[in-house]
């Protein structure tokens, strides 16, 4: 296959295409562009506000980087912070981290389109495929959640998709660099890197050793400066913090491996809540079909490996871990639909868009609102102004969600961390509020701050009584 420039691949048709076909392909790209533009305008309607402690720590990392100070937390996500740092030249640090995730997310559908064309050259001949894939991307509330999160998921996924695309295009060194950038943006995507390593022998049978070497060189080219940067900020204490963090994650606060049921069962329950059984069955069938078909096998292997990893070891409370599965699956799904007869293909396109639309409107709405924690900040700020006899006295709040963000946003309030059981007594003595990420049984519910997308968490506000 001839080497192509990334954007040229979108508009170049195979030689010999009739003019009408060429025109249709151009028109489909234009329609996809319009869909994309509407989607981007919709996303930019949302306030660019921090929505979690992790995003706050990223913004602090942009101001001064130190993993020991949780600016941001281990392992530092240096490439994401660096990109946000560049954007922060024109914006405040907190806006910059949101913009970084948002811009990464809005570029992603185009990379997936290019990937579709590599995985399934037939898609060049089907203008509908371009439109369907763009629509399916825009109808993913999970992608919107990633875009507005200010976290590194969207950036990591963008680099992962680029690495896959460049691997298909035989640009192995650049693919390795993208893989390195992915790992330095979002290290927990390492199963995607493992997937990339695994598919090289499938794609380039005899040459796989040299391909691996060139890819590994790219990863090293990113890895060395990243490690030197981390060491320059925190010295060898970086490793000490890594040990503390890793131990803490698995033994204390990470919620991983701690559920009463196996992790995969928790995931299944969570996924059926968000999606429905039919979508999950379709995903499973699609992956199985992909693993059997030699042309689709590489992408199916990458997705299946990552899916296996999250089912075993990722926290099902964080739906955003599922985003790589859902988004990388879309080009695979469209490429599989292209294998069907013309009528069935068109029907399946219509059906997939209908299912996507139903799921979108069941999981999200077009109404623009703030993130749940920002809704809570606004509510508590108003309450703090009126809570005491002498005007603004501040109030007492116990929370196990976004403790640092609430402390920063509400400096006049006493914010207790409910991770510590002793906080409950102190908040109750003050007759304070309790903000929780899950419904509580024995307290009076004051109000609810609803999640906007499946990747977010609805927050519940309760009030303690002196006696209770």
């Amino acid at each position: 296959m001839p080497e192509q420039q990334p954007l040229a691949g979108l508009i170049n048709c195979f030689p010999g295409f009739p003019d009408r076909q060429r025109l249709l392909v151009s028109a489909s790209i234009a329609v996809a562009g319009i869909i994309w533009l509407v989607w981007v305008v919709w996303l930019f309607q949302y306030p660019l506000q921090l929505s979690s402690d992790d995003a706050l720590f990223f913004s602090r990392g942009v101001e001064r980087f130190s993993v020991l100070e949780l600016r941001p937390h281990f392992p530092g996500y240096p490439v994401f912070v660096a990109l946000a740092g560049v954007i922060s030249l024109g914006f405040a640090a907190d806006t910059a981290v949101i913009l970084t995730s948002l811009l990464s997310a809005v570029v992603l559908p185009w990379i997936l389109l290019l990937l579709l064309r590599e995985v399934s050259p037939e898609s060049y001949r089907s203008p509908l495929a371009t439109i369907v894939l763009m629509l399916l991307c825009a109808l993913q509330p999970l992608l919107a959640a990633l875009a507005l999160s200010g976290l590194s998921d969207a950036t990591g996924l963008l680099f992962a998709a680029l690495a896959l695309l460049l691997t298909w295009r035989r640009q192995f060194l650049t693919a390795g660099i993208c893989c390195g950038l992915m790992l330095a943006s979002r290290p927990s995507y390492f199963p995607l890197a493992a997937g990339l390593i695994a598919i090289i022998p499938l794609l380039y049978k005899q040459q796989f050793l040299s391909v691996w070497l060139r890819g590994a060189s790219g990863v090293v080219l990113v890895g060395i400066p990243v490690m030197l940067f981390l060491l320059s900020r925190d010295g060898l204490a970086f490793f000490e913090e890594g040990l503390r963090f890793t131990q803490g994650h698995f033994q204390i606060w990470g919620n991983t491996f701690e559920g009463q049921r196996p992790n995969w069962q928790e995931w299944l329950e969570r996924l059926t809540d968000v999606y429905c059984w039919s979508v999950l069955c379709l995903l499973a069938a699609s992956l199985l079909w992909g693993l059997k078909q030699s042309s689709q096998r590489p992408l199916a292997v990458v997705i299946t490996l990552y899916l296996g990893w999250i089912l075993l070891a990722q926290n099902p409370d964080n739906m955003r871990h599922f985003a790589p599965v859902m988004l990388l699956w879309l080009p695979l799904l469209v490429s599989q639909m292209l294998c069907l007869s013309v009528i069935v293909y068109r029907l399946s396109c219509a059906l997939s868009i209908a299912i996507g639309a139903v799921l979108f409107f069941s999981q999200a709405s077009l109404t623009v609102s703030s993130a749940p924690v920002q809704q809570a900040v606004q509510w508590l700020d108003r309450a703090a102004c009126t809570d005491g006899d002498d005007g603004r006295t501040g109030l007492t709040l116990g929370t196990n969600y976004s403790v640092s963000l609430l402390r920063e946003a509400l400096p006049g309030c006493q914010i207790f961390d409910m991770y510590y059981p002793s906080s409950k007594a102190l908040v109750r003595q003050a007759g304070g509020f309790r903000l929780s990420g899950s419904p509580q049984q024995d307290m009076l519910l004051i109000t609810v701050f609803p999640a906007r997308f499946p990747g977010e968490r609805t927050l519940y506000l309760y009030r303690f009584s002196e006696s209770g």
Binding site: D53, E69, H73, R244, P411
Partner: protein, 179 residues
């Protein structure tokens, strides 16, 4: 390998298991005292008594007697107050240590970072103005440690004067918990 092992999480600011007995012990002690079970509270205190007695033997700060009195009087608020005083002493001790080791980046930085773990348990109990002063002071202290750089590149020297001033500012902000 550490990069590979690390995963994202929601609440990673806590000390790792067994690393800070005064923080781990506080929970059992306050939980028992709050529920009125002072037998369990006394048992919980005995597990951390060594840490409290350390202040007496090393610095002449007796927190053991007021704690035992509070437990005897079944006064949960006083138990919390004495614990807060212990945290105040712990923060002061670690920041002094950081000042003495200001030229050893790793030691100084870890001491200031760990003192912040204790501070984070005190700040919610403080008045707004004092809380903001304390948080500002600990940030200045963290910055004053500088950073080591690699082979001299990217190094930022420590600022002992700024660290000492931040220490004083923090102690002033924490007056409500002083002995």
């Amino acid at each position: 390998m550490l990069l590979v092992l690390s995963l994202n999480s929601q609440a990673y600011t806590y000390s790792a298991a067994g690393k800070e007995p005064l923080i781990d012990g506080r929970e059992a002690l306050l939980k028992a005292a709050d529920s009125g079970d002072f037998e369990a509270a006394t048992a919980a205190y005995e597990k951390v008594a060594k840490e409290i007695l350390y202040f007496k033997t090393e610095y002449g700060i007796d927190l053991d007697t007021p704690m035992k009195n509070a437990l005897k009087a079944k006064d949960a608020k006083q138990v919390n107050h004495v614990l807060n005083q212990a945290y105040f002493a712990e923060i002061d001790r670690r920041l002094k240590g950081a000042e003495q080791n200001v030229n050893d980046y790793q030691v100084a930085k870890v001491l200031v970072v760990k003192s912040k773990l204790f501070l984070d348990l005190l700040t919610p109990q403080m008045e707004a103005e004092a809380r903001q002063q304390a948080e500002q002071a600990i940030q200045i202290a963290l910055k004053a440690i500088g950073n080591p750089g690699v082979f001299g590149v990217g190094a930022e020297p420590a600022n002992p004067e700024a660290l000492a001033n931040a220490h004083q500012q923090l102690i002033k902000a924490l007056q409500a918990f002083s002995l």
